[in-house]
Amino acid sequence: MTTLVTDRARTNRGRRATERREAASRNRVVSRNRSAVSRWARDCGLAVYSIWVLFPLYWLIKTSFNSGFVPSSLPPVWFGDFSLSAYRAAFASPSLHSALAHSFIVAIGVTIVAGGSGSLAGYGLTHLRRSSRATGNYEFWVLSSRMAPPIAVAIPMFFLYTHAHLEDTLEGLTIAEVTTVVGIVTWIMIEAFRGIPMELTEAAEVDGCSSWRAFSKVALPLARPGLVGAATIAFLLTWNEFLLALILTDTRAQTAPLALYQYIGYETFNLSQLAAASCIVLVPTVLVVAMFQKQLITGLTFGAVRG
């Protein structure tokens, strides 16, 4: 067991080193013949863009650590005023606690529902079917769920939920939020399974595997990077979704963005507390995306090349 683990660690290290070498040689080939001027222009462009991206983030974080009336003082206090009072106040609010918990539950629920049904369908559409035309039509139907304007989904659900007593519940919100992610998740899974050779799953079935085993033991492990990327997107989009949650929930199922929205409505006078609450709400998704960045890129770029 231990040898297996160390072996794997060694091959991983080896692979990373090879990847680094390949990237370096790629850069040499690609940037040969490049004048100093164009390199300088490129670096300047990247520097300007970095400032454009980072300044608003710096400003939000800085404000969240300010105390009292510092955030609105001019000229601004750029550095140095470091206080945790805004975070303490934001964390003391019980509505933010429960909103964060709701967001976690709904985001994970949606990820499981969309990831599960999307994986099954992705496999069914690519490995159990030959006609690419039918797959294409299904694909468009799947994608159209992403186009649906939230109002056209939320108003009917609002009526239906009142009858079914699902209004302002986590279950009801989970069902509604599936609308926003199932399209992109399935799209990624279709492309992920398309990249796995048919011969592999066919051979498994000829050897007597059931379709389920061919899927779960052969195809799914190979499609894992795509699945992780799709799950990352599902979590991200659900956590950040605002309009459906605004219409379909009140207090019992309030999500984190909504709690923040209420802050903006009622407590605009305390800028640093608002900034601190904002930082708290955006940390979970930033962490998830940073962790699974590679799979996210793989998942998103699948659709471009194959098909």
């Binding site: 608003p56 939000l60 109002i151 904002s278 471009a304």
Partner: protein, 292 residues
């Protein structure tokens, strides 16, 4: 033969969960909304009456509706094209620098991962005309200090700017993935042929990136057409109707004025616009995938 039969049954089983999910989240609400858009339904008065195409003719004769359609299209066209151009440039540049490229890419992804509401609030802080840092900095440079969210075109421009800040990273991510997939031999061949920097870009890099650009364009267009959060929080569609997008118009009709029928009718018009644009984009994506 038996295998084919068995596969058909298996396929049905594999597709069943998603088909049920899609039916629940798309077909049922869509049919309901479609029906609702021909009624005068509102949550206060119980008697729901069928009023034919009344909501649609009311919409089409409302100048605010047409202004919302145009605002939505202008917003989408400007925001998505800037994001695409900027994202492609930065995506290519960032994949060309060796050390530090990965770190930069991680930094650039942060806006995409952040909750839009938090980001919108952040911009509200910075754009504020009395204590905002942007006007303060402009003042230091003796430039005019406008009320960004309070004046017509500037308000729409600010919302477009925020969208660009948030979603250019999406293009960067896709393009960086695309650049990594270009086979090295192609560049070596271009070198042998003595292609210059610009010609290499135009004849080698760009054609390879075409499907990636189209994919990014497809996803961004779908989402930009639905812009809502920043409008609702920052401008409430104003000043006047300067930033009233179609999605916000539908929301206001349905939720603020409680005109459920009219609101869903407006939302369905938005859906039709999205379906047409997406269909065109998806078609050209399929073509360019096939060409590669």
């Amino acid at each position: 033969m038996q295998l084919a039969d068995h596969r058909r049954r298996a396929r049905r089983a594999f597709l069943a969960p998603l088909t049920i999910v899609l039916a629940v989240v798309t077909i049922v609400p869509f049919l309901y909304a479609f029906g609702l858009s021909f009624t005068n339904a509102d949550p206060v008065h119980p008697g729901v009456k069928f009023i034919g195409t009344g909501n649609y003719s009311a919409l089409f004769s409302d100048p605010q509706f047409w202004s919302a359609v145009i605002t939505t299209l202008v917003f989408t066209a400007i925001a998505v094209s800037v994001e695409l151009g900027l994202g492609a440039a930065i995506g290519i540049a960032v994949s060309r620098i060796g050390r530090g490229g990965a770190l930069l890419r991680t930094l650039f992804i942060i806006p995409l991962a952040s909750a839009p509401i938090a980001i919108i609030y952040d911009w509200q802080l910075m754009l504020n005309p009395t204590y905002g840092v942007i006007d303060y900095l402009l003042g230091l440079l003796h430039l005019p200090q406008p009320d960004w969210l309070g004046t017509g075109h500037l308000a729409l421009g600010s919302l477009i700017g925020i969208d660009i800040w948030e979603f250019t990273p999406f293009i960067i991510v896709i393009i960086a993935g695309g650049v990594a997939s270009i086979p090295l031999e192609v560049y070596e061949a271009a070198d042998v042929d003595g292609a210059s920097g610009f010609r290499r870009f135009w004849y080698v890099t760009l054609p390879f990136l075409r499907p990636y650009l189209l994919l990014a364009l497809l996803f961004r267009t779908i989402d930009a057409l639905k812009v809502f959060d920043s409008v609702a929080v920052l401008t409430s569609g104003g000043p006047g109707t300067a930033t009233t997008t179609l999605n916000y118009y539908a929301f206001r009709d349905a939720i603020t004025y409680l005109e459920f029928g009219r609101g869903t009718a407006a939302a369905l018009v938005l859906l039709v616009i999205a379906l047409i644009l997406t269909n065109i984009l998806l078609r050209s994506l399929r073509r360019s995938r096939g060409a590669l």
